[in-house]
Amino acid sequence: MASAVVTLGFVSMVTDISSESVAAILPLYLTGVLGLSTISYGFVDALYHGVSALVRIGGGWAADRGGHPKWVALLGYGTSAVARVFLLFSTGLSAIATVVAVDRVGKGLRTAPRDAMIADASADADRGRAFGVHRALDTTGAAIGPLMAFAVLWWIPDGYLTVMVISLGFALLGVALLGLLVPDRSASAPRPARRPATWREVARPALVKLLTLAGVLGLLTVGDGFIYLALLDRGGFAAHWFPLLYVGTNLAYLSLAVPFGRLADRVGKGKVLVAAHVALLGSYLTAAFAWWVTLATALALLLLGMFYAASDGVIAALASRLSADHVRASSIAAAQTVVAVARMASSAVFGVLWFLLGPQAALVAVGAALLLVLPIAFTAASSLDREPTPAP
C-alpha cells in the first residue's frame, strides 16, 4: 500500500471528524441556542447539491488540465477550513447556511482530485483495496466526529463553540497533513509528457457505459435517510436509537470497505459494484418487512454499510481503470456527479411514492424495479470488467 493512500486516508479522517462533529450538533445548536423552530428553517438543499455537483466536475477538470491534483484538492480542503473559521462568528441562520454551502463547495472541489491521487498512487490490480483503505479511514472519521461532539457537550453543556473550535483544529490538521506530507505526484510512477485533457477523451465508450450504469442504479438508490425513516415508522428499537442509526451504518461501512475493495480487485470491480446493489435491495426489503424490528434494524444497517463499502470506493476504482491517466480526475468526477444527481432525482421521486403508497409499498416498488435492472446491470458490469485499461 502506497504511503500516499494511507496519508490521504488520514487527511479525510480528520476532515470528516471536523465536518461531522459540527453537522451532528447543528440541529441542537439551531433550535436550542439560536431558538429557531422547524418551519422557519428552509435550507435550499437541492441548490447546494447542484452547486456541489458542478464544482465537483470543475475540480476534476482543473486537476487534469493543470496536472496538479494536489493543489486543487488542497484548495478544496482549505476552502472548508476557512468556512469553519467563519462558522465561529456566524450567529444567524442565513450566515450558517452560507458557511455550510461554502463547506460543500470545498468538499465538491477536493473529492475527484483526491481520488485521482489515490488511483495514481496504486496499480489497477490493487486499486479496489487502495480505495477501500481510504474509505475505511474516511468513514472512521465520520463515526468519531459526532461521538466526540456529543462527548464535548456532555462535558460542557453549552459548549457548541468549543465543538466548532475543535472542528476547526481538525480541519487545519487535514490541510497541513495534505500540504506537507502528500507528494503531488507519485514518485514511483513518473508521468509521460502531459497532454491537454479534452472531454472527448473523458467520454470514452467504456466510461460512458459506466456512467449510464451508475446513473440507472443511482435512480433506484433511495437515500439512507428514507430507510431510517421507514424503520422509525415501525417504532420500537429504531425510534429509540434513531439519532444513532447512521453510526451503525458507518461501522459496517468502515469494517467492510477493505475486504470488499480486495474482492473487487479479485473478481472484478464492475461485478462488485452491481453486487453492492443486491445488498441495497436487501436493506429495502428488510426495512419494508420489519417483522422483528430490532433484528431488522440491525440487519438493514449492516446491509446499508455493505452497500456503501462495495460501491463508493469501488466506483472510483472502476472509473480510474476505464480512464487514461491524464483525464482520470475528470472521469472520476463525472462518475461521482452522475451518481449524486441520479440519487437526488431518486430521492425526489421516492418522496412522492412514500406518501402515495406508504413507506413499505414504496420501498417494495423501488426494490422490484432494482431487481429487474440488476441482471442487465450485471451483464453490462461484467463486460466493463473485461475492458482493457486504456493506454496512457
Partner: protein, 341 residues
C-alpha cells in the same frame, strides 16, 4: 523542504493545534462550571417549600438563570408569580403540568445523546419514561392529566440531509401511544387529502379526552385542525394558525401568527374566537414569539421570550388579549410556563 523537515513541521503544527484547542476547551469548561456553580440571582425559597408550593394554585416552569439550578423545573404561587421560586428535583427542556401529572421532555446528554418524555405524579415520582425520536419542542397534557402530547424535531444527521421534520404523538399517561398524528386521516377545507409533505405540531387538548387541536403544515401553508382521537381524524377549521392553545373555557385559541419580516418568519401572538372565526393579532407584542402560548386566566396569555444579549436565558411574559395591550414581565429567567389551578 526535505521529507524529514516536512514531518517535523507537521508535528510542530499538530502540537500547536492540539494545545490551542485543548486550552480553549478547558477554558470553556472552567467558565461553564464557574457560571453554573453560583446560586441563582433571583429570589428562591427552600426546597421544602416546593412541597407546599405544589399543593396550591401555581405556575411551573423551566428555570433559565445561568447558575447551579439551570434547567430545573421551578414553581411559583399563582397569586405572586414574580415572587420567590421553589425548585423541584427535576430538570426538563420543556415541561407541562396539571394538578396531578407533569410531563417533561428532556435531552439525555451523553456520548450517545437521546431524547425522552418522562411523566411524573404530583410528588415527582416517575410514572413512565419513553424515548422520543428528536429534539424536544412542545408538550401538553389534557386537563384531567390522562393524555400527553409531544412534538419533537427529527433532524437529519449528515450534511446531505440538513433539514427538519416534526414528530407529534399523543399518549395515554402511564400507558401506550396513539401513534404519530401524521398518520391520522386529514381533511383540509372539506376535502380528504394525503399530502406527502405534511407536518403536525403543537397539540392542545379539549376537556373531553377526545378532542384536540393542532397545527398541520403542508405546501407552505399552515392550518388549525380539530382532532378526534377515537376516530383518528384531523379536520381543518382555520388557516394560518401555529401552535394553538385552547383557552380554559374552550371558546378561544391563542396561537402564534406568522408574518415575513427582514426575509424571515416572524411570529406574533394572536387569539382566534372559535365560534365567530374572529382573530385578534396582539400586535402590542413587537418581538418575535416562538413558543406555545399558555393561558394565565380568561383574558391573559403567557409565553417565553429569549433574551437577545444572553443566549440560553429567557423570561416569561404576560399579555392581555385586547389588541393593543403591552406585554409585561411576569417571571424572569423562566421558560415553558404551565398554569395549574
Amino acid at each position: 523542504m526535505s521529507r524529514r523537515a516536512r514531518v517535523a513541521t507537521f508535528m510542530a503544527l499538530a502540537l500547536v493545534v492540539l494545545c490551542g484547542v485543548t486550552a480553549y476547551a478547558v477554558a470553556s469548561a472552567v467558565r461553564y462550571h464557574r457560571t453554573h456553580d453560583r446560586p441563582p440571582t433571583v429570589a428562591t425559597v427552600t426546597d421544602d417549600a416546593a412541597v407546599d408550593a405544589m399543593s396550591e394554585p401555581r405556575i411551573l416552569f423551566r428555570h433559565t438563570g445561568i447558575d447551579e439550578r439551570y434547567g430545573r423545573v421551578a414553581v411559583v404561587s399563582l397569586v405572586d408569580p414574580g415572587g420567590a421560586r421553589a425548585f423541584t428535583p427535576v430538570s426538563c427542556d420543556r415541561v407541562y403540568a396539571t394538578s396531578e401529572v407533569e410531563s417533561c421532555l428532556r435531552t439525555e446528554r451523553g456520548v450517545v445523546t437521546e431524547y425522552s418524555l418522562t411523566e411524573y405524579d404530583d410528588r415527582w415520582h416517575q410514572l413512565q419514561q419513553v424515548p422520543v425520536p428528536g429534539i424536544p419542542s412542545r408538550t401538553r397534557l389534557s386537563p384531567d392529566g390522562s393524555l400527553v402530547a409531544t412534538t419533537t424535531f427529527v433532524s437529519g444527521h449528515s450534511y446531505m440531509q440538513v433539514g427538519f421534520s416534526t414528530a407529534t404523538e399523543i399518549r395515554d399517561v402511564d400507558g401506550d401511544s396513539h401513534g404519530d398524528l401524521e398518520k391520522f386521516d386529514l381533511v383540509l377545507l372539506g376535502r380528504h387529502v394525503v399530502p406527502r409533505d405534511r407536518n403536525v405540531w403543537g397539540v392542545t387538548f379539549g376537556p373531553d379526552d377526545n378532542t384536540f387541536y393542532a397545527t398541520v403544515g403542508t405546501g407552505g401553508e399552515t392550518y388549525l385542525v380539530r382532532g378526534d382521537l377515537r376516530a383518528r381524524t384531523l379536520t381543518s377549521v382555520a388557516d394560518d394558525v401555529e401552535c394553538p392553545s385552547l383557552s380554559p373555557d374552550g371558546t378561544r385559541i391563542a396561537f402564534k401568527q406568522a408574518s415575513r419580516r427582514d426575509g424571515r418568519t416572524w411570529w406574533t401572538p394572536a387569539v382566534l374566537d372559535l365560534a365567530h372565526g374572529r382573530r385578534t393579532v396582539l400586535s402590542g407584542e413587537t418581538r418575535d414569539v416562538d413558543d406555545q402560548i399558555e393561558w394565565l386566566d380568561r383574558d391573559t396569555v403567557l409565553y417565553g421570550v429569549g433574551r437577545e444579549d444572553e443566549p440560553g436565558v429567557s423570561d416569561v411574559w404576560e399579555l392581555d388579549t385586547s389588541s393593543d395591550a403591552r406585554p409585561r414581565l411576569l417571571i424572569e429567567q423562566a421558560w415553558s410556563p404551565a398554569v395549574v389551578r
